[in-house]
Symmetry: C2
């Protein structure tokens, strides 16, 4: 069935630049852009080249969406919630307090209308989005002292961004915006009391356990944090159909691949962190319940003011509220038994 | 950056036939072959065409691997554990009692060495494999009467296949091999006492709740049942590099897409099943613990006799045993709180 090479109708030479929202040092999350670029190059015999740049090489993390929208670069790999300063609606494409877990997020994006709703919303910013990976449920961060009650959060200077910072501020937290490289010295000096980053594999590189040993979980604001490929709309639309198909397939691969890589790397990193002094602590029921209540209030306020937010929040919440009955039956009871049986495996 | 079309070096015209291990009526699982075929066709401007055939149209489910190995068809979409009759080693690529959940299975395949180990093993059968979807944790099946103790399993005629049937027979179960379409009348007449199929969305189509209302969970033998694309090795190896990249990316997309589709469709199906008479029942601790013990004994026996089985089992078990400490920290506690808070969402 192998015939002679034919003349292609639609294999133009294209070179795109991709600005990542992440530093190369976060190899797992940054790596999804390399995965995408490699598949696109190989699938087109090198005719379509995407060159990834680390955050800051062309523009910074928080400028990536603007740079894509105005055509400075053709695409980005970043996370929608970095842009909540433009509109809080950006949040749910990534993660938000008490939203979806990783698989529910995919179900919402691919089948529950999430992706279509976002691509309608993103037209305002002249961008088009495809899911491009996820971290899995994140950790709640590193704390210099234990926090047991909501009262313990009062005045707590916590390095945490965006919508979650706003929600936790209702519980007395004082959100701090600090770049990744400055977190360690700020914790060491006590300029801040706590900081959240990602999960064991990424956190380990920064050594927080030496200066803020209490490692809280779960990161209830990032139950399944998704990252995204963003495309300039005109650049996306002018791609030939075959190139669009290649990008869509490669983005799907990058999505499943990033989660697998985190799920492979996090367990060993957690063991090393605990061995070097990290002390695992669950957030108390009191704190979780107060945070849930504060989240619901903030979501209601924003829904009343912002029709885009309401439409997307309602869609997410509908899938979430429908999903957990099923989730608790098969997935959760399987995991529950396996966790309890660990010593017998 | 759009230049004139160039002459492709490697876009041969190819037509392949794909035999599915599934009937078209299982649209979610069967559909992954359509997803694959559509991406490959679009990505190659129609030059590479894969035509999926339903189980039985070319060969039956249990002949698919042979048909691929001997070149009757170029590829299949099926599940490795259907072929445990050839060698029990086939099991873990799909699922086996107390093995991995869906995300752990991806972590093992893509990063933990699972895929490489299997492709080495599959050389004996002249096939090459790529992950091609998963169902998520399955249900434990439909029972005419409640089963509470291991004694209740004694003599139970249970429609369940392969390695799991062998393991459960150690607890007194009498495994039955019955094709999908014959399950309902067998349950209705009492020829069998119980049957497992997949999960709510697929089970609903067969109406089991009318004749065997006790719907048990979890399906501890399919914590994350994966399905696969199998390729004739020569056909795979002679593909040009660009076509291989397109297939790999499309298989990754199909993998994440099938899980998302199940996760979207199962919750509503479960609600409808419960509304129409299904009675949810968790397997008792006694049954789960006895099944775990029986599984460990069977795995030890097979490992002693079969070096391929031992190598792959050890690799799977190593990842599994390392993973649950991390899984219980962030993922499980997030889901736990969300499940308990369902009424407040």
């Amino acid at each position: 069935t192998l015939a002679a090479p034919a003349i292609a109708q639609s294999m133009p030479e294209i070179r795109w630049r991709l600005t990542s929202g992440f530093p190369r040092s976060l190899d797992t999350i940054y790596g999804a852009a390399d995965v995408m670029a490699k598949f696109v190059s190989e699938a087109t015999d090198g005719k379509f080249q995407i060159q990834p740049f680390s955050a800051g090489e062309i523009v910074g993390t928080f400028q990536a969406v603007d740079a894509v929208g105005n055509g400075t670069v053709e695409m980005a790999h970043s996370s929608s919630y970095y842009y909540v300063g433009k509109d809080p609606t950006f949040a749910f494409a990534s993660a938000a307090p008490f939203a979806l877990n990783t698989r529910q997020q995919n179900a919402w994006m691919y089948y529950g209308g999430g992706l279509d709703l976002y691509n309608e919303f993103y037209k305002k910013f002249n961008i088009y989005m495809l899911p491009g990976g996820a971290t899995g449920a994140q950790m709640g961060g590193w704390f210099r002292k234990e926090v047991k009650t909501v009262a313990d959060l009062n005045g707590l200077k916590f390095r945490i961004a965006g919508l979650t910072g706003e929600i936790l501020s209702k519980l007395g937290v004082v959100p701090q915006q600090i770049a990744g490289g400055d977190i360690y010295p700020s914790l060491e000096r006590g300029t801040i009391d706590a900081a959240e980053w990602v999960g064991p594999y990424d956190d380990e590189k920064l050594g927080f356990q030496k200066v803020a040993p209490y490692y809280y979980y779960p990161g209830f604001w990032e139950g399944g944090a998704m990252v995204h490929f963003f495309f300039n709309r005109q650049k996306w639309e002018e791609l030939p159909k075959n190139y669009k198909a290649i990008i869509q397939a490669a983005a799907g691969y990058a999505n499943v691949d990033m989660v697998a890589k985190y799920d492979f790397k996090n367990p060993a990193a957690l063991r090393r962190l605990v061995a070097s002094g990290a002390q695992l602590r669950p957030f108390s029921q009191e704190i979780l319940e107060a945070a849930l209540k504060a989240s619901s209030e903030v979501y209601a306020d924003l829904s009343a003011k912002n029709p885009d937010f309401k439409k997307i929040y309602d869609s997410m919440a509908s899938l979430r509220n429908d999903s957990y009955q099923w989730w608790q039956v098969a997935e959760y009871t399987f995991d529950n038994f396996m966790i309890r049986s660990r010593s017998k495996l």
